[in-house]
């Protein structure tokens, strides 16, 4: 690695060994039920962590705790060492129900602009940044369209563009492709990988699709349900950049898939 | 934690108590306001001498008669417009021209044609009720699941049978809703006509109380009119739920 590259890497991640997101013995009770119990995990800066599990295992809850939308009943959730008491502007959340997370009365450009307005960017600079972001997610000519005029895949990309406008240090994605068809999903998986590669953001990606988790992640954590606890943790040592055909045929991919499949089967029993 | 039910009553009870205390404290002498206790007493007195019941009967007769006539006309036209699209398109300009006329504008015409009394009020209420029922029953027919129409054709039902067995039952929940809304309108229009000019019913009673400088009786009638409106609406909501189940109410909310 060249000296300037190493220097910029150090500036971005002051201490690459210290976890960026850390859960320490986190328990969350909601409505009288224990949703997750004693979860501890560390996410390193720039890491792509996937969380999988059967329905009701609390993976969305864990994500919302990392986002600061929920507060743990006991234990702590920290970001860069500081406790997450409320959402942070530099942590972006990509919701599964993209239709509900976009402003239907604003155009695509308007939706991206919302994040820029919130961070106080002067209006003269916004237009260029909006163009840049829309181009990055592959919606360059759709700036004037309303969400209702866009397909599901396009709306999800728009949400991602708005999240990128927050210049996020971390990207929290809650089953973002769950509502989309298989082909759109695969296209977006690759897009997310390249966007994350470029921005070097830390990612926590929740999904119920085992193959998606292995394809995207550096690490996969599987949760057991009722209450949610960590049941399995796998390192994904597949080469990057990933490819939809070759990576999915890699024997290591198939082995990991088998292992996760057995885990899910056992956890549903 | 205060239970949800109690919260609903907290505000009105608090307001009434405060009003009572304030009115007593300043020895209220006014033509327009009276302490809640005086209002309650006036209402009870008016019940005892039968004036409330007479007035209520008069208003409700006018309202329901108008609703029945206007409803029948509106329903017949609405169903016809809903079934025969050509008729609907041809009548569009005529209907859209007459509909915006406020029913109260007919008051002077009805007055000189029919004089004071039930008939003029019924005519005005009927005119007001025709439109919501016409529009909504037309929409109810138009909103019938097309699949049902296809089924009726596949079963080769005669036109009369189709109307009787498929169209009317399918449209019935929304038609009932239309009548429920129109009932509210009927009451409002009836009371308004009475307040404006007609010397019968609750509207006339409340105006008379005001002119006699009896704020307690006036407010008593105001309260009673509110109660009647509430009971009418709630009664119809209960009937709707009973007849058509939750599905109809859910659809109304969307």
């Amino acid at each position: 690695m060249s000296r300037t590259a190493a220097a910029s890497q150090r500036a971005r991640f002051p201490d690459p060994e210290r976890p960026q997101i850390a859960f320490t013995d986190v328990t969350l009770d909601l409505g009288g039920k224990t949703i997750i119990e004693n979860i501890s995990l560390d996410v390193k800066p720039g890491e792509f962590l996937c969380i999988i599990g059967a329905s009701g295992c609390g993976k969305t809850t864990a994500l919302r705790l990392a986002a600061g939308l929920y507060q743990p009943t006991s234990g702590t959730v920290t970001f860069d060492g500081k406790p997450m008491l409320m959402p942070r502007r530099d942590i972006a959340i990509v919701f599964q129900d993209y239709g509900k997370a976009l402003l239907p009365w604003r155009t695509a450009a308007g939706n991206v602009s919302l994040a820029l307005e919130a961070s106080g960017m002067p209006s003269s600079l916004r237009a260029a940044r909006i163009d840049e972001l829309l181009k990055k997610v592959g919606l360059p000519s759709h700036a004037g369209k309303y969400p209702a005029e866009m397909s599901g895949g396009m709306q999800q990309r728009l949400q991602i563009a708005r999240c990128l406008a927050q210049e996020p240090k971390a990207l929290l994605m809650d089953e973002p492709f769950g509502a989309l068809d298989a082909m759109t999903r695969q296209g977006l998986q690759d897009e997310v990988l390249s966007l994350v590669e470029a921005s070097k953001a830390t990612v926590i990606f929740v999904t119920h699709d085992l193959e998606e988790a292995i394809y995207l992640g550096d690490r996969v954590i599987g949760l057991l349900p009722h209450p949610g606890r960590i049941g399995i943790e796998l390192r994904i040592d597949l080469p990057r950049p990933r490819d939809q055909l070759t990576t999915r045929e890699d024997p290591e991919f198939l082995r990991l898939r088998r292992e996760l499949f057995d885990f899910i089967k056992a956890s549903e029993a | 934690m205060i239970p949800e039910r109690a919260k609903a009553f907290l505000l009105p009870v608090a307001v009434l108590v405060l009003l009572e205390i304030w009115a007593r404290a300043i020895h209220l002498q006014s033509d327009s306001l009276a302490p809640p206790s005086a209002v309650a007493i006036a209402l009870v007195e008016a019940f005892k001498d039968g004036s409330v019941l007479t007035a209520t009967r008069d208003t409700l007769i006018s309202a329901f008669a108008g609703l029945a006539i206007g409803g029948a006309v509106g329903l017949a036209f609405g169903i016809a417009l809903g079934i025969f699209r050509i008729f609907d398109r041809l009548m569009e300009v005529t209907i859209e021209s007459i509909r915006p006329i406020p029913s109260i504008a007919l008051l002077p015409i009805a007055l000189i044609a029919l004089g004071f009394g039930y008939r003029m009020e019924i005519v005005i209420v009927a005119f007001a009720c025709v439109w919501p029922i016409l529009i909504l029953s037309r929409a109810a027919i138009g909103g019938i699941e097309p699949r049902l129409i296809e089924v009726s054709r596949a079963l080769r039902l005669s036109p009369a049978d189709r109307v009787r067995k498929i169209i009317i039952p399918a449209a019935l929940p929304r038609i009932f809703l239309a009548f429920r809304l129109a009932a509210g309108i009927a009451l409002i229009v009836a009371v308004t006509v009475e307040i404006a000019i007609n010397p019968i019913g609750l509207g006339a009673a409340i105006m008379t109380a005001q002119q006699a400088l009896r704020p307690d009786l006036m407010l008593a009638y105001l309260l009673w009119i509110g109660v009647i409106g509430y009971l009418l609406n709630t009664g119809l909501v209960v009937a709707q739920r009973h007849l058509f189940g939750r599905a109809a109410l859910v659809r109304e909310a969307t």
């Binding site: 509900k100 919302l114 | 609903a8 327009s32 569009e92 300009v93 006329i101 406020p102 105006m207």
Partner: protein, 255 residues
């Protein structure tokens, strides 16, 4: 606008014209006494007369003024109050049930109270019209603010949007369809109450005009006034539709 729509619209006009011709025939044949039913020719003549030399303009403006002032006061108060109540769950649970009870109350019943307080004056009319017009606005605004998609509030928290920004950039636009439909209803109520107050208190306006015409058996003038009231109703509804269409063009167009 495509051709078939235009053709049907023209045919519809022809049908309406046919009804007017029928009306003229009934009037000419004196099937109903001309004291009660003037022909369309006489009604039209009265309209022309009233506008070219007579009082009709000032009467029309009188009614429009009553409507406008009352409706404006009601809109501002209704939206402000509705926003305050609708955006707070605690407020809603205490206030909403009372409002639900008051919803079916005929608003014209407030007129005698207003007369007792203000006499038969313009002030009374303004109070009554504003009071009547505020209810649809208030209830619709509360509903609109209460129904804001909760996910959008989470987005706002994530972006650290200020409270003011949340109200003006998220809650208000989200509630705007409800608010606009409340405004539409309010306009109808304002028109009706204007007419009633003019009839009762003899205030300058079309309501007073039609009452006087009826009392002096000037049926042509009476019909002219009624037609004008219908025109006001039609034009205000049309104006609201146009405003709605412009402001709500982002809607997926389900209605």
């Amino acid at each position: 606008m495509n051709r078939s729509v235009l053709i049907w619209r023209a045919a519809s006009f022809l049908v309406a014209a046919g009804f007017v011709a029928l009306w003229q025939m009934i009037a000419n044949l004196r099937l109903v006494s001309p004291v009660f039913l003037p022909g369309p020719d006489r009604a039209w003549a009265s309209l022309v007369r009233g506008f070219s030399g007579g009082d009709l303009w000032s009467k029309l403006l009188g009614t429009l003024e009553h409507m406008a002032y009352g409706w404006l006061v009601a809109s501002i108060a209704g939206i402000a109050l509705g926003a305050a109540i609708g955006s707070s769950r605690t407020m809603r649970s205490y206030v909403a049930p009372s409002l639900e009870f008051l919803r079916p109350l005929p608003v014209s019943a407030i007129i005698p109270v207003a007369i007792a307080m203000f006499g038969l004056t313009q002030g009374m009319a303004l109070f009554v019209i504003a009071f009547g017009a505020i209810w649809p606005m208030l209830l619709a605004t509360i509903h609109g603010f209460a129904a804001v998609e909760p996910r959008l509030y989470e987005v706002a928290r994530s972006l650290h949007m200020s409270r003011l920004a949340v109200i003006f950039k998220i809650a208000l636009p989200s509630a705007s369809p409800d608010i606009l439909s409340g405004m539409r209803l309010s306009l109808t109520v304002a028109l009706i109450l204007s007419v009633v107050c003019e009839i009762l208190a003899g205030l300058d306006g079309l309501g007073h005009w039609i009452l006087l015409s009826a009392r002096s058996f000037r049926s042509a003038d009476l019909f002219a006034g009624v037609i004008l009231l219908g025109v006001i109703g039609y034009l205000t509804a049309l104006a609201m539709s146009m405003v709605e269409r412009r402001l709500l063009k982002w809607r997926p167009g389900d209605r």
